[in-house]
Amino acid sequence: MEAPDTEQQPQAFINAHVIDPANGIDIRGGVVVTEGRIADIGVHLHRNAPPDTIVHDCQGHTLIPGLVDMQVFTGEPGNEHRETLKTASRAAAAGGVTTMIVMPDTDPVIDQVALVDFIQRRARDNARVRVRTMGAMTRGLAGEEMTELGLMKRAGAVAFSNGKQSVMNAAIMRNVLSYARDFEALISHHTEDAHLSRGAAMNAGLLATRLGLTSVNPVAEVMVLERDLRLVALTGGNYHAATVTCAESLAAIEKAKEAGLPVTCAVSINHLTLNEIDIGDYRTFFKVRPPLRSEDDRQALVAAVKSGLVDIVVSSHDPQDEDTKRLPFSEAADGAIGLETMLAASLRLVHNGDITLSRVVEALSLAPSRRLGLESGTLSKGAPADLCVFDPGMPWLVDREVLHSRSKNTPFDEAKMQGRVLRTLVAGQTVHQYARAT
């Protein structure tokens, strides 16, 4: 990720709307970048750049710390036809994401040191943005045996996850939380009861009944979450609920936070902007896991992001190809891509007046950085110059064929978006620049 020589000269980004939630900054100003790090920030840089800098006039557009996406599935290793670290990183760059956290659900599963190393090497050689990996918390994600959490953490794993499955064995979960605590390792868990959700294609309710689809009630999520929170209280383990999707989960999280437990949670952009009705006539691009919920749940999630009860927003980018999506709904794979559309979709909530831009930036960048102990997510002097410049008002139409991801399973195909990434920088180096279609 070293910047080439041409970029070594200091750069000034002036005439920008600069937002940096870490420092409570929301100003008309600018930022100076030197040697891949933030050298200066402030209103004095609104009109004037320091001498001997390469000047980028942001033309009043918004400049924020680059997004940190805490839940990205790729196909590397094992399913490179769906997505590689390289193609995912291109999509990330185009979406203003400067750090992506890849999940261990690969083939083979990232459940040992050598594989953590493999991801890091592949990313270093091929990816445009920073890539960090979560390690598997159980071998093969089978939920039975703990992995070498300590060694994997030392090798660079930022957190530990059981991927798209819950650890159903409470004894294992308890031990993972206890053991991880000794290493100050974060446990990020997808909570969904395996039995209640078996074969489920969508959220339980009138629509599922009409469509004749096997469904799962949100209670399947809530009960595993509540179990986990009990175990967190017991063990003091550091816990992150990876995918909360319903109002009742929020109540459980709220209670845990009030009790002072070391708990955070995230919601995917899909659950924040879509609901079960979007499935319509068996549209498989809207089949995700956990399933899209009711509009009431969606609104509760939006309110919780606003209040900070939900700490983090993720894309839950999950590439699937035609072979796994062009099937009858119940047979189709779960998952939707999202790296490239996450910011634009989040801006819907800003344009609607639901959430402030500053809060969105916090949930998409600062909060995940802090939770994972990364130095990104802020424009503080000395922080890495991972930046995103975007025009919050620019309208565009999503066309899945021109998205950078190798897979095209976006639920936002043909959706109208308002807000487009103009430039993305990692360590002061431009990794994406918007080219207006001619």
Partner: protein, 317 residues
């Protein structure tokens, strides 16, 4: 769209995928057409020429002797060239997907495609990919519209009307495409629909489908004009949904004791195939009030009507 400009359009739909959203006038027009077919089916010469030159493919991903033969006979009586394809045994095992199969068939230029598949939405997916009329002959637990239509025809012939009647649908509602199709169609036709089953076999928010939900046969059958029994699959009797076939029959099987709660002249219906002694007692199935055999007869008539009505909507290119 110049074709058939002199013929009034009986049933102005491209496909028959679901009963949801059908117009009551079109349903009655279709039932009228089926009455004609039923009359024709009683003659010695049952053959007509309405579908001469048309190709009908029966694409069955799930084995079904009854429905497939009913569609086959219907097509043949109308003069169509009918081809049966049992896909479960061939292509799917070689990894061919539903869409691949559809595209292959589409290249053979059929006019009518009858599809049965184990997944909800399969017929709808196919209809998006092929150029011909698609008839859903059952897609998982979702819909089986010709079954509901033949049930409506059977009821209308026996009772003279459907509107205002109370129809109790009893049994495995949760997994039943027959139930879903009937709930929709009976509501369209103005009947009052009741669902009777143990709670494990009632889908979420069933009441919002337009039905009253009962968990006892006594209350559910009280004053019913029609008692429609559903098949309970063997794999659901092993303790996952109900404890045993024996217990199920005791509480939810239709016998003469329970039938007494319904009106004295209540019709007894079953889409078949029956599990005698599980959801229905043999003596009830063979009772004078049972119209189970007539349902099969009306099945052919309804399918003739559907095939003919949809074929009328083909635009010549």
């Amino acid at each position: 769209m110049a074709a058939n400009s002199n013929t009034q359009t009986v049933f102005p739909y491209q496909h028959l995928l679901t009963c949801e959203g059908l117009d009551v006038r079109h349903v009655h027009a279709l039932l009228d057409l089926a009455e004609d077919a039923a009359a024709l089916n009683l003659r010695q010469d049952k053959k007509r020429e309405a579908l001469r030159g048309r190709t009908q493919i029966n694409l069955f991903f799930e084995a079904s002797t009854r429905t497939q033969s009913s569609f086959e006979l219907a097509g043949k009586r109308l003069g169509a060239d009918v081809m049966n394809m049992a896909v479960s045994t061939s292509s799917v095992q070689k990894g061919e997907t539903l869409i691949d199969t559809a595209m292959t068939l589409n290249a053979m230029r059929p006019d009518l495609l009858v599809v049965r598949h184990s997944s909800a939405g399969a017929a709808s997916l196919l209809a998006q990919k092929v150029d011909c009329h698609v008839i859903n002959a059952g897609d998982g637990p979702h819909q089986h519209p010709t079954q509901a239509l033949l049930d409506a025809l059977t009821i209308r012939r026996a009772k003279g009307r459907v509107e205002g009647l109370t129809v109790a649908i009893c049994g495995d509602i949760k997994h039943s495409r027959v139930a879903r199709s009937n709930i929709d169609l009976l509501n369209i036709l103005g009947a009052r629909v009741r669902l009777v089953a143990p709670s494990t076999l009632i889908p979420t928010e069933a009441a919002k489908l337009g039905a009253e939900v009962f968990t006892s046969m006594q209350a559910g059958l009280d004053g019913a004009d029609v008692v429609m029994m559903l098949r309970l699959q063997r794999e659901r009797m092993g303790g996952s949904y109900v404890p045993s076939g024996r217990e199920y029959f005791h509480f939810f099987g239709l016998d003469h004791d329970k039938l007494r709660y319904a009106k004295p002249d209540a019709l007894i219906m079953h889409p078949g195939p029956m599990n005698r002694g599980v959801e229905i007692a043999s003596t009830v199935a063979d009772d004078a009030r049972s119209v189970i055999r007539e349902q099969v007869e009306m099945g052919v008539a309804i399918r003739m009507a559907v095939l003919e009505a949809l074929a009328q909507n083909t635009s010549e290119t």
